[in-house]
C-alpha cells in the first residue's frame, strides 16, 4: 500500500500507510498527523493543507484552482509548494515524503 512521510520544521516526522485514492491532506487527518489542517475538506478552498514536495518527483501539474489557493498560503509559497488535498496516493505517487510548512493558519 502507498505511504506518505510528513517532515516537520522541528525535525520530527511521521509516516503513514494509506489506501489508494487517499489524499495527502486526508491521510494526515485520518492519522492525526499534526501540521495539516485541511479546513475545507479537500475542495481547494482554504489553503491549509500546504506542503512542499521534493524536487525531481513527477507529479501532476498544478491546476488553476490549486494555483489560486497556493497564492493564499500562510507560510511562503515556493516553487515546490502544493496543496495536499490535490495529490492522491496510488494515482499520483506510491511513496512520497513531504515537508510541512511552519504554519497553515
Amino acid at each position: 500500500m502507498p505511504s506518505i512521510t510528513y517532515r516537520r520544521v522541528d525535525g520530527t516526522s511521521a509516516t503513514v500507510v494509506v489506501d489508494e485514492g487517499t489524499s495527502i491532506m486526508r491521510a494526515a487527518l485520518q492519522n492525526d498527523v499534526a501540521g495539516i489542517v485541511g479546513e475545507c475538506g479537500g475542495q481547494a478552498m482554504c489553503a491549509t493543507c500546504h506542503v512542499y514536495v521534493p524536487e525531481g518527483v513527477e507529479l501532476p501539474e498544478v491546476s488553476d484552482d490549486e494555483d489560486e489557493m497556493l497564492e493564499c498560503t500562510t507560510s511562503d509559497r515556493l516553487d515546490n509548494s502544493r496543496l495536499g488535498c490535490q495529490l492522491l496516493a496510488g494515482r499520483d505517487f506510491d511513496e512520497l515524503t513531504v515537508d510541512l510548512p511552519e504554519s497553515q493558519v
Partner: protein, 423 residues
C-alpha cells in the same frame, strides 16, 4: 450556449416547492446527562458561562430547551465536521428547508458537491481581486458617508455594518433589481423562519413573502443574465449548469441560503472585531502601526465570537461522542461559539488576543461545508471596512453616552452599537 435557458420558471426543470415533514427525534438514552437548567434566554444574553460549564462537566449534553444535544468541545466539533457519514447535514424536519428550500447546506456529498460546483470561482480570491474588491470600496464610501452625515453618536450596525454587508452581497450575487434593504429584509425574515421553533404563523408569513420575492427577483435576473452574462454569481450559475443535475429549485434554495448566510456574518464580524479592539488599546495600536495585520485581527475576532454560533447535524447511527451515546436520528447543535473558546486549544480563550499562539478556529465550519463566502468576508472586512474605518474616523470608539448591545447564540454579534469619533 444552448438557445433556451434551462432555468426559466415554467421550463422543464421548474420547480417543486420545498418539502417539509415534521420530525420527532428519539428520546435520549438512559444515563444521558440532561442539561435542563440551560435556558434560551441565558444563551441569548450571554452563552459563554453556560458553554464553559458544559465543556468542563458534560461536553455533549442533551439540552431540552433547544431540543438538541450540544457539541461543545473543539475536538468533538472537528470530529462531527469531518464525518458526514455519521453526522449528516441533511437534517430531517429542518426548518431551514421549510423557510428557504433544500439548499446545499442541508445536503451531503456527492449531492452537495454538484450544487457547490455551480458557485465556481465567483467567491474566491482571484475574482475578489478582479471584481469585488472595487465593489467593497464603493460600498464603503457610500455608507461611510452615511456615518459622517448622521455624525458622532450614530448607531453603527444599522447605518453601516448591515447595509455594507448587504450591498456587497447584492452586487456579488447580481441582484440588480433589488436594494440593500431588500437583501436585509429577505435575509432576516428567512432566518427568522429557520429559527421558528415556536411555529409562529406571522413569522412564517413574513418568511414566505420574502421567499416569493426572491423567486420573482431571481427569475427576472436569470432572464437578464442569460442574454447578458457577467461576473456575478447568478450569471455564473446559469451559464455553467445544464439543468439536469441542478434545477431551478436548487438554484433558488442555494441562493436563499447565501442571502441568509452572507449578510449577518460579515456584519457581525465587523462589529465584533471593533469591540475586541476597543477593549484592547495596545492591540489596537499594534494593528494601526502595522505590528499586527488586519487579517490577524479578523481571524482572532471570529475565533473570539463566531458569528454563526451553532449549526445543526443529525446522527445516522448510534454513536458515542464526547462521552455521550447518541441514538440514531439524534439532533445535534454543533456549537462553534463554544469550540472556539475551548481552553484546551486556546489559552485565555475569553480574551481577544492577537498575540495568542496560532491555532485554526472553527468559525467557518470545517469539512465540505466550510464557508464558501470565507474569502469574501475576509476581504470586505479585513481589507476594506476595518482599515478604512479606523484610518478615516480618528479616535473611533463606543459612544459612552449610549448603551451597546451584544446578543444571540445561534448567531451572535452586536445588535446595537452607537459609536463616536473625534470629528
Amino acid at each position: 450556449m444552448t438557445a433556451t435557458c434551462p432555468f426559466f420558471a415554467g421550463s422543464a426543470t421548474a420547480v417543486a416547492e420545498p418539502e417539509y415533514t415534521p420530525y420527532e427525534a428519539p428520546a435520549p438514552l438512559p444515563g444521558t446527562y440532561i442539561a435542563d437548567w440551560v435556558t434560551l434566554e441565558d444563551l441569548t444574553r450571554d452563552p459563554f458561562p453556560t458553554f464553559a460549564k458544559l465543556r468542563q462537566e458534560h461536553p455533549v449534553p442533551y439540552v431540552p430547551a433547544a431540543g438538541r444535544y450540544f457539541v461543545t468541545r473543539y475536538e468533538d466539533v472537528h470530529t462531527v465536521d469531518n464525518d458526514p457519514d455519521t453526522f449528516t447535514a441533511n437534517e430531517r424536519g429542518s426548518l431551514m428547508k421549510k423557510s428557504m428550500g433544500h439548499s446545499m447546506l442541508r445536503m451531503d456529498d456527492p449531492n452537495h458537491a454538484v450544487q457547490r460546483a455551480t458557485y465556481g470561482n465567483v467567491l474566491k480570491p482571484k475574482a475578489i481581486k478582479a471584481s469585488w474588491r472595487q465593489v467593497f470600496e464603493e460600498s464603503y464610501e457610500r455608507y461611510a458617508a452615511v456615518l459622517r452625515e448622521v455624525g458622532p453618536g450614530v448607531e453603527f450596525v444599522h447605518h453601516f455594518a448591515g447595509p455594507y454587508a448587504a450591498e456587497n452581497l447584492r452586487r456579488v450575487m447580481g441582484f440588480e433589481n433589488a436594494t440593500d434593504q431588500d437583501m436585509i429584509r429577505w435575509s432576516q425574515t428567512m432566518i427568522n423562519g429557520t429559527g421558528n421553533y415556536a411555529d409562529d404563523p406571522d413569522v412564517w408569513a413574513e418568511a414566505k413573502r420574502s421567499y416569493d420575492e426572491v423567486n420573482t427577483a431571481l427569475d427576472e435576473m436569470i432572464a437578464h443574465y442569460w442574454e447578458h452574462p457577467n461576473e456575478t454569481l447568478i450569471s455564473n450559475i446559469i451559464h455553467t449548469s445544464n439543468g439536469d443535475e441542478v434545477t431551478l429549485a436548487n438554484i433558488r434554495a442555494n441562493l436563499k441560503m447565501s442571502i441568509g448566510g452572507g449578510i449577518n456574518e460579515p456584519r457581525d464580524a465587523i462589529t465584533t472585531i471593533m469591540m475586541g479592539l476597543f477593549g484592547e488599546p495596545e492591540q489596537r495600536a499594534a494593528v494601526l502601526d502595522g505590528t499586527r495585520t488586519w487579517k490577524e485581527a479578523f481571524e482572532e475576532g471570529v475565533r473570539w465570537i463566531a458569528p454563526i454560533g451553532m449549526y445543526p447535524r443529525q446522527t445516522t447511527r448510534e454513536v458515542e461522542l464526547g462521552g455521550t451515546v447518541l441514538p440514531a436520528g439524534a439532533k445535534l447543535g454543533v456549537v462553534a461559539l463554544s469550540a472556539n473558546r475551548d481552553e484546551s486549544v486556546f489559552a485565555n480563550a475569553d480574551r481577544y488576543d492577537l498575540g495568542r499562539e496560532k491555532q485554526p478556529h472553527l468559525a467557518f465550519g470545517g469539512g465540505v461545508h466550510f464557508c464558501a463566502g470565507a474569502w469574501l468576508a475576509r476581504s470586505q472586512v479585513a481589507d476594506v471596512a476595518l482599515p478604512r474605518l479606523f484610518a478615516e474616523f480618528p479616535g473611533l470608539r463606543l459612544d459612552p453616552e449610549q448603551q451597546a448591545v451584544e446578543t444571540g447564540w445561534v448567531f451572535r454579534g452586536m445588535t446595537h452599537m452607537p459609536i463616536t469619533w473625534d470629528a
